[in-house]
Symmetry: D3
């Protein structure tokens, strides 16, 4: 049984994330999407809200589980007994940063946690959670960026 | 059953390739390493020699099969009924080129062939088949780059 | 009549910006340089000061108008009925970020707002508003970075 | 009257090129698309064939003219009395190379020839003339890459 | 006598920094490692603590001196009468940023302060002060990242 | 005594190379500029011609010696008993490639040959030997790229 973790902020989940989730769920037998509880950042949505949104948005994917964690990914993965992390790549700057994280995680887990990268689909390459939030904060149309129920929750936050 | 293809020139296989092969063989149930028969290039080793070297170098990995192909990767993968290609990433220039290939393959296979990337281990980040060949051609020491039996075959070519 | 917008922070305007403004004013019939009123940042100069500096620094360019805006660029451009945004490019990191913004703007304006990029002249490639401010804050010489009257206004802020 | 040149190999023209041509034809009053006759390369199509394909593919754009040239772009632009070159950007590697060319052209034309960059539309970001030719050479489907009449001409070459 | 400065935050010094220091101390006759007192950042360690750690960690290198400075590097280097700055390079993003700083320093020192770059050793390429601090803050093992006495001082801060 | 090697093709030497040579000659006590005799390339100038041009162009720098070599740089540096190689950096693509070479040289010389990088001066950032040759081949003006006597030798080759 091949399992993988897809960690991230998902503040909120976008169609770009959902594209990675769907593709990773086809490549692996089990996929855990896990919201990072990063105490040094001020998110728009609470961890609970983000977990709930992810659950609703992935309800058609039977081998996908939603979870959350704080602390180091390598500790979380070890506890879950999972050896593969998934990350999506959009751009060069992403790549450099993600590469460093991937090397750090392999190093500090003694090779136990490997990272595999998927490239973001072209139609979502322009998308990021922060872009979606900025556009929504000025009342722009985000219907091509996030599922409708997520969009409604974002607009509510900015009202 | 999760299967993947690792396509490449492998002219010749290096410890960098073998690191990717070993890690991919742990992530997938079955891994096919396949030598691309690129008729527009002049390789040092024939396709047959490269297949033979790969077989010997991966003989301890029971879920790894060695093969070769010519033509488009998407046609080969469709015939094999495999939906995932593996690629190793070393550097920015790699990344851009590999990203384009991955997008092209997803596009032209109607989403059937996805690519997952692994990052080259740091200790092999300096390694490429062409570096190994250049050093060997000047009688340099390549024992940390390739298995011994591969090294002997390279020196023989340059004698 | 071909019109374009050059949006930016211009906090303060540098010779690098003025080089882009002059060149863009030769390529387009009308150029609107517009100061972004970004409420999440703490600028050194108020929007009004930045507009005034730009007006003085571009007074010899008859087809250049200075303005300011808040909110999304695509909304501002639609209201102005302008279809082209100008951006200067200095470096790779710039490029990735700017590319994403340009794609986002084309996408969210339904193709109505396109972005054209000019490359920063080599003699100004080292220049950024933040570098100028840092050097001025330590009483360094910025006479080759900004017009004299801008320099005086910067030193005044740090006194 | 604002005029621009879009120079390139166009061997053959793809939907990616046509996207740049259409967008540039909206930004400038007159656009000259000009095939570079590069004597050091072996193209698939002759300059005459490439000019003919471009003419047919842009016949609906009244302000677009097709031409060809050999030698330096700055000499050709000076003879045509045009001060702006257009280039499309796809990726980092592109960017670095194109930036150098743009700086060289500004330098060697004494500032007379400036370059403006447009970013390739996401849906064509995977496309290049050489990718199209490789796929066609293996009888792959290129109907989403080039106009039908161009596709037929490519297959004919490989027959 | 060839002297050089290696400026940085060193918050705290890592094996990556120590690798650059050792190599630079072999290339130059005298090396001054100097802690930047950046008043706009909140460091984990005071300037005095960072100087003390560097002194202990480089006590076996007789031609290395530890110092600290605030303000512009070019002013500090001029006062010290040193014409070369040393920087380590890890990645693309580093490179762009460092390149801009190096050009700025050459420009604003009238060519008196040049920068030479060394590439970080592969085994330390994953290392940064902030990675070390993040891992330590979750009680992770940092013994391969920093000397033992530095490690103890970091853990103490997070207790 | 601190000595360094600046290896390269120098086909032909440009003002960009001469800028690196002059700056490196101030940083090191002795600088050996050495022409690589690469048998797999077809240069415009013979190794002898390139050595002669470099000697004339650096005749005012007493601590610069001109030489040539074939084979691996690490073997040449070991024979010369020199531990530092100099390289100039222009761009991202350069950087990746040069980084790999530097790591390879450190690795295969057991840490004996280190590489230091200088950044190309902005006014020569557009310059490369191949650009100069292309412009000269079309009779363009290269007087700002190379010393006059080098320019005459290039035009002669293309006559």
């Amino acid at each position: 049984m091949k399992a993988a973790i897809y960690p991230g902020s998902f503040d909120p989940v976008t169609y770009g994330h959902l594209d990675i989730i769907r593709r990773a769920s086809e490549i692996f037998d089990e996929l855990t999407v896990s919201v990072l509880n990063n105490k040094t950042k001020t998110p728009l949505f609470s961890v609970e809200e983000r977990v709930k949104m992810l659950k609703e948005a992935t309800s058609d994917l039977p081998n996908v589980t939603i979870d959350s964690f704080s602390g180091l990914l390598i500790d979380y993965a070890a506890k879950k007994n999972i050896n593969v992390a998934i990350r999506g790549l959009r751009a060069i700057t992403d790549f450099e940063y993600e590469l460093q994280i991937a090397q750090t995680n392999r190093k500090f887990s003694d090779g136990k946690l490997d990272t595999v990268f998927l490239t973001t689909s072209l139609e979502y390459a322009y998308l990021s959670s922060s872009t979606v939030k900025e556009i929504a904060s000025f009342n722009g149309d985000i219907s091509e960026c996030v599922p409708d129920f997520v969009g409604r929750m974002i607009y509510e936050k900015y009202r």
